[in-house]
């Protein structure tokens, strides 16, 4: 590929390695510096967010030709475009002239982007279309590819989920995702026609390191404590037939059929579905109480009889946590994206999803009712659960200012013979409250931090 530019960033003259990563990341604990050192964060933006596949956007956010949204790859501002021919690109949102961001809108539809500073104009393919008063340049800028926008050289979708990487050595996306594809497939395919549309979001900011969110994503140990207020609230009516929400954690959660599974490459999966009654409506039975639910349930049951139960499950929060390293988490019906801002600041965006009546099997009235309900169920956890987690993340960041107390432990389940099982496909399985996923993903993190990624950008030829 002649349009690739290999990038070898100049290093500071000392050129010493930042840390001995084996000292900082041990079998059962990690050093506080992983969360508190701005230099580690800076290295992560190259080695993690430049070194592996990163989730960028969902195709349903740019469904039409010339649609775009803005996003980030680590700290790099991007414009994710779908050109007139349907090709999806991740353009650097940076004018090739002086570096101004070209697009300041979150989303829209445009065939081109004009720099507000000096008026350079770029097509949504990244190609420079024109500059003001071109005669003032000794040679033609539009004929020189180096003035076309930089773009992420490898952009690839898996069933609507768009990923990108700068690392030319990274394995192809399907191989990189590996076994985590199975729960992703199941999560997608539980929706009619295997299709979801991304809608608006619950958007959080917290003053803490981005890994605090990823450490939480598969954590079955915190539920009863961090979410104490949620569990009490959703079970405040004692005449309900079933315990609501994650009440199943209350007694001996290690002995329940739910589990955590490490899928390789930093990805992991917590599956709570085996705790449910295996029948249509089993998910709906434990859904906590949300606006409109009795009305919709009564209406659908009166009209559709037993078929209504499976319909209602579509509005229920799928009890899975599918975590794709480093920045994507599918949980309930949400697509959660972790966006690092600084070593001690992170944005966590919980995009909602709605269903589409792809094959007409449900009918418009059912889809409208289910989506109205699904919006409300999706607001539940961010409002009454996530706020408390995030308060705890911020307090971890504060606690880690105790410089001399250096270690963060993640050894729940570690060293107990037979506790972790290696399955035939090489994935690891353990009880849902074990910190297996932390030990394994941070091992992948360490591998990436030790490895020099083969970073490149691309420009249109």
């Amino acid at each position: 590929m002649t349009d690739l530019e290999r990038v070898r960033t100049p290093s500071r003259v000392t050129n010493a390695p930042l840390y001995d990563w084996d000292e900082l990341v041990q079998e059962d604990r990690v050093h506080r510096l992983l969360y508190t050192d701005p230099a580690v964060f800076d290295a992560e933006m190259t080695h993690i967010f430049g070194g592996t596949w990163v989730y960028l956007a969902h195709e349903s956010q740019i469904p039409n030709p010339n649609d775009f949204i803005t996003a980030k790859l680590g700290l790099r501002p991007l414009i994710i475009t779908r050109d007139n021919d349907g090709v999806i690109r991740a353009l650097y949102n940076r004018c090739t002239h002086r570096g101004t961001t070209l697009c300041r809108w979150d989303k829209g539809n445009s065939r081109s982007f004009q720099c507000p500073y000096h008026g350079w104009n770029f097509l949504n393919t990244g190609k420079l279309r024109g500059v003001p008063w071109p005669d003032g340049y000794a040679s033609s800028l539009v004929r020189d590819p180096k003035f076309n926008l930089a773009q992420v050289p490898r952009v690839s979708s898996y069933r609507g989920f768009i990923f990108g990487t700068l690392n030319m050595d990274a394995a192809p996306l399907p191989e990189h995702l590996g076994p985590i594809r199975k729960p992703m497939d199941e999560w997608i395919d539980r929706n009619p026609g295997g299709r979801i549309t991304v809608c608006e979001a619950n958007r959080f900011k917290y003053k803490g390191n981005w890994k605090l969110a990823y450490d939480n994503s598969g954590d079955g140990y915190h539920v009863l404590y961090s979410h104490h207020s949620l569990l009490e609230t959703e079970n405040r009516f004692k005449d309900e037939e079933t315990s609501k929400g994650m009440s199943y954690y209350k007694t001996q959660p290690d002995e329940l059929p739910m589990y955590i599974q490490y899928m390789g490459n930093g990805h992991h999966f917590k599956d709570k579905r085996p705790n449910l009654q295996a029948r249509p409506g089993g998910l709906w039975a434990i859904e906590s109480l949300h606006p409109g639910m009795e009305h919709v349930a009564e209406r659908l049951r009166a009209k559709y009889g037993e078929r209504a139960e499976a319909m209602l499950d579509l509005a229920g929060s799928e009890p899975v946590n599918i975590n794709v390293f480093p920045n994507l988490s599918l949980l309930g019906n949400h697509i959660q994206v972790f966006q690092p801002v600084a070593y001690d600041e992170t944005d966590a965006v919980w995009y909602g999803t709605r269903i589409e009546d792809v094959d007409g099997s449900l009918g418009d009235d059912v889809v409208a009712d289910i989506n109205a309900l699904r919006m409300r169920t999706q607001e539940g956890f961010p409002n009454f659960g996530e706020v408390d987690d995030i308060a705890n993340f911020e307090q971890i960041q504060r606690g880690l200012q105790c410089t001399e107390d250096e270690w963060i432990y993640m050894h729940r389940g570690y060293g107990i013979p037979g506790r972790t099982v290696t399955l035939d496909d090489g994935t690891l399985k353990a009880p849902a409250t074990d910190e297996l996923f932390m030990r394994e993903y941070i091992r992948e993190w360490k591998h990436l931090m030790k490895t020099q990624p083969n970073i490149a950008i691309r420009r249109e030829p």
Binding site: D106, C199, E200, A201, N202, R203, F204, K205, Y206, K207, S226, H228, S229, L230, E232, T233, E234, R236, F237, L289, H290, P291, G292, M293, E294, H295, E298, D347, A348, V349, W350, Y351, G352, R354, A368, D369, N371, A372, M375, R376, Q378, E379, N383, F384, V387, D388, I390, A391, N392, E394
Partner: protein, 196 residues
């Protein structure tokens, strides 16, 4: 179904497609000069209700605050500046009567870590304007708000405008819907855990 089973504090039967439709219609194109009510006494009546509401929230008297609302009510913090249709979009917050009481219940459990200790707030309500509706038992009221919130060692500002839909019930005005429009509603917000 007996009548008791439809208590909106316990069961959510009133949140129907028609209810949503009416809500969206009431919050569409309502702030127009031809609907503005200029009567000073009426404007003062609603201004006083909004100031009372701000006082109850600042004093953390949430149970008294709930009494300002009609039994069947909505509390809506949209996630986009144009609010959209809550049947198809996630909101920052969207509560019916029961979930509004959930919200208060959670804060009272003592385990709501995002409010432990509670934020201290100082709310300023201003620019109150009252607008006429199709029927005389309903009013739409626009106001601007500025909430200074002290939490976790810092004071921050939450700003925006609210649209209250008041209905006359048993001779008094009750809030049948409250829409809170944060100016940064579509951005990442730190600890959005107080009642707005």
């Amino acid at each position: 179904m007996n009548v008791q089973n439809h208590d909106p504090a316990r069961f959510s039967y009133y949140v129907t497609d028609a209810w949503y439709g009416e809500l969206v219609a009431d919050y569409t194109d309502w702030q127009t000069e031809d609907r503005a009510i200029h009567d000073v006494a009426e404007r003062d009546l609603f201004r006083r209700l909004l100031e009372q509401e701000a006082r109850l929230l600042d004093r953390l008297l949430f149970e008294d605050w709930l009494k300002l609302f009609a039994p069947e009510c909505g509390y809506w913090v949209p996630s986009t500046p144009d609010a959209g249709d809550p049947r198809r979009e996630i909101a920052v917050m969207f509560d019916d009567r029961r979930r509004l009481e959930d919200r208060v219940y959670r804060l009272r459990t003592g385990y709501a870590w995002s409010q432990a200790p509670s934020s201290r707030t100082s709310r300023i309500v201003a620019n109150v304007e009252v607008f006429r509706c199709k029927t005389d038992d309903q009013r739409m009221v626009r106001s601007n708000f500025l909430i200074s919130e002290f939490w976790d060692g810092d004071t921050r500002t939450l700003a925006g405008w609210a649209g209250h839909r008041f209905r006359k019930l048993d001779g008094g005005w009750k809030i049948s819907a409250k829409q809170v429009n944060l100016i940064n509603c579509d951005q990442c917000i730190r600890n959005p855990s107080i009642i707005l």
